[in-house]
């Protein structure tokens, strides 16, 4: 059984990753100490439930429940988005209290909230966050922009890392603007190039940028220590996380991170070849990121938030040419390494279901927001686990009875025969105690298979 990792099949790798998830370790590499035998049993039952739902080999004991939230957990416990980003203890206490009070099966990492202090140090330009451009009561929001210019494609394609370091980072982080003065790393070769290559690091503004990176690094260590302690504690209480790593659809890297929504849409007409070449370069980077993070976390799930490929955001032909082939490559590349891609599809994906059908059985799972779940169940439900679709609007403005009726319908339609996860279709920023309780409690009662 001591097969080397590289000799394992993708199925064996997946089994090994799930086994790791089932038996978490502490930072020293020892088996995690659970708070009680009962907590350990809950943890294992929850992991097994999820595994059965997504692998679709056997029926889970009941429908797994994962209410997805960004600032929802803190909102429900009276902690503001500002406090969530600046007071790590408040953030983590709130997340813990949410787990204890609501008892969902899984948690999403509070690491996704991020540290406002780090954003301050780096003078991050791409978002507004609570207390920084928007009120302390509001979650972070992206500022659309062309952080990569239309003429930057050759530089990105030629050397993505160099483009990130010397062009994108200086534009996106005020404190790192001087990194534009660095010379490309591959210019450093052998003795004659060493001394000259060090010159940029003597320029005072570059040194300030390096100091900012060190300061951000110090804050990141303080932040991650608390996050790690939280993770160990809640796992010990019996709660697994459904997020191991993260990756993005290559098109969304261009549309969200680099070119902005408007920029990329115009590129589709003016320079389609460049868009395609850029995405070819981005595919392996996304696979490596997802696999690397999942390995480090000891958890096969790779979260992929999907944005600009939703219904209406492009035509069917554009989806087929620009979005799908590259996303598919990322999904298959991750699955090949034994990871379980977790596609999180805000908006609706009705017109995209016919493509999703192309994926091999149990190669990934899809959490939908406004997609027609009956149609999704019919078209892809026999091969891929689906989930989600409890609307944010309903949860925040509806009554307990409305939510119960909606969830019953969902379980009857999408939950039939397994392969369904009860979840919100969007990363919630707010919550309403009554309805979130009902979504969880009702599913525990009505979503039982055996």
């Amino acid at each position: 059984m001591d097969k080397k990792w590289e000799e394992m099949s993708s199925g064996e790798k997946r089994e090994a990753r799930f086994a790791q998830w089932l038996s978490p370790k502490d930072p020293e590499g020892n088996n995690l100490k659970f708070r009680s035998a009962e907590a350990e049993a809950s943890y294992r039952a929850r992991v097994t439930r999820f595994k059965d739902a997504v692998l679709m080999e056997k029926l889970p004991d009941r429908i797994p429940i994962y209410p997805s939230g960004t600032f929802m957990q803190t909102d429900l416990t009276g902690v503001t988005p500002y406090e969530s980003m600046y007071d790590y203890k408040k953030l983590l206490d709130a997340h813990k209290k949410f787990l204890v009070d609501y008892e969902p099966d899984y948690y999403g990492s509070p690491a996704f909230v991020g540290s406002g202090k780090i954003l301050d140090i780096l003078d991050f330009k791409q978002y507004k966050w609570p207390g920084h451009g928007i009120s302390k009561e509001s979650g972070y929001q992206c500022i659309e922009g062309e952080y990569m210019k239309a003429e930057d494609y050759p530089a990105l394609i030629n050397d993505p890392s160099d483009f990130w370091l010397r062009t994108w980072m200086p534009r996106v982080f005020g404190a790192l603007q001087p990194l534009a003065n660095l010379s490309p790393f591959p210019f450093l070769w052998e003795v004659v190039a060493v001394s000259g290559s060090m010159i940029p690091y003597g320029i005072p503004p570059v040194q300030n940028a390096l100091k900012a990176l060190m300061e951000a690094g110090n804050e990141a260590m303080a932040w991650i220590q608390q996050i790690t302690a939280f993770e160990l504690e809640v796992k010990g209480m019996g709660f697994p996380t459904v997020i191991g790593g993260a990756a993005k659809a290559p098109y969304d890297i261009l549309a969200d991170t680099l070119r902005g929504s408007r920029g990329i849409m115009i590129d589709l007409y003016r320079q389609p070849e460049m868009v395609l070449k850029a995405m070819e370069r981005i595919v392996p980077l996304q696979i490596n990121q997802g696999v690397g993070m999942a390995t480090m976390a000891g958890n096969p799930m790779v979260f992929i938030p999907m944005h600009k490929g939703a219904d209406g955001f492009m035509s069917d032909e554009q989806f087929r040419e620009f979005y799908w082939p590259f996303l598919k490559e990322v999904i298959l590349g991750l699955a090949d390494e034994g990871c379980m891609p977790f596609l999180f599809c805000e908006g609706s994906f009705n017109t995209r279901l016919k493509y999703i059908r192309e994926l091999p059985k149990a190669s990934c799972f899809w959490i939908f927001d406004r997609t027609d779940m009956a149609e999704a169940k019919k078209l892809i439900g026999n091969r891929l686990c689906i989930g989600g679709n409890v609307p944010a609007g309903l949860l925040l403005t509806g009554t307990a009875d409305d939510v119960r009726a909606y969830c019953k319908d969902l379980i009857d339609v999408a939950g039939k025969g397994g392969g369904y996860i009860m979840s919100t279709g969007t990363g919630m920023d707010e919550g309403k105690a009554e309805t979130i309780h009902v979504m969880i409690d009702f599913t525990k009662e009505y979503g039982v298979y055996m």
């Binding site: 929001q141 849409m265 003016r270 554009q318 944010a392 609007g393 925040l396």
Partner: protein
């Protein structure tokens, strides 16, 4: 001859459209007529969008082409007389929310469909909607929002119209990421539109045209 520009624009043939306009101007064709054709082309784009033959990138790109065409025409349009507008719509992204892509598409489609649009931008306070609607005498208000926090901002904005005593003289439409009929009911708005063409249809129904 003139219909050629309608076709080029509606088929999103950017370079040909701009070249055509340049040549037409050289030949002495009336720039006002060309502008009319360009707008007719845009109307076809809007219709195709409503029929789901065109999608958001097509709308965005058609706007780019129109900008290019207007850039050529502008110096030749002696005084751009104000064309007759169907009515005035006040629109903005509600307080606390800074998302503008959806809102901008609605502004754009209302504009090419003949409405005068007062765009208040993003993170707009409830009172500002009320004040602008009163000052400008607008009867149609569009509230946009992507985040769930927009639900409450929209509700407050609708209430602000009530408090100002002008709720009955305006029609309020809402739209954006998580907006649906639940939120229409919650906020007390008159209608919810799922995309830019639905906003145009609502404005037409309410104002006429």
């Amino acid at each position: 001859m003139a219909t050629k520009l309608v076709k080029l624009l509606s088929e999103l043939r950017e370079q040909e459209a701009v070249e055509f306009v340049q040549k037409a101007i050289e030949k002495g064709i009336d720039p006002v007529e060309l502008l009319g054709d360009a707008k007719e082309g845009m109307n076809i784009v809007g219709t195709k969008f409503a029929r789901e033959e065109y999608f958001i990138p097509d709308l965005i790109f058609s706007g780019e082409i129109l900008k290019g065409v207007i850039r050529v025409l502008e110096p030749h349009l002696s005084s751009r007389e104000d064309e007759k507008r169907l009515g005035r719509v006040v629109i903005g992204t509600v307080a606390g929310d800074i998302h503008d892509i959806g809102k901008d598409l609605v502004v754009f489609m209302l504009d090419v469909n003949g409405f005068e649009v007062v765009d208040l931008g993003v993170d707009v306070a409830a009172q500002q909607f009320v004040k602008t609607a009163s000052d400008k005498g607008s009867t149609v208000i569009g509230l946009s929002g992507f985040l769930t926090l927009a639900f409450d901002s929209m509700k407050k904005t609708v209430e602000a119209f009530k408090e100002a005593g002008i709720r009955d003289s305006v029609k309020i439409m809402i739209g954006g990421g998580q907006i649906d009929d639940y939120i229409k009911n919650y906020t007390g708005a008159d209608a919810y539109g799922k995309d830019a063409m639905e906003a145009v249809a609502l404005a037409k129904r309410w104002i006429g045209g």
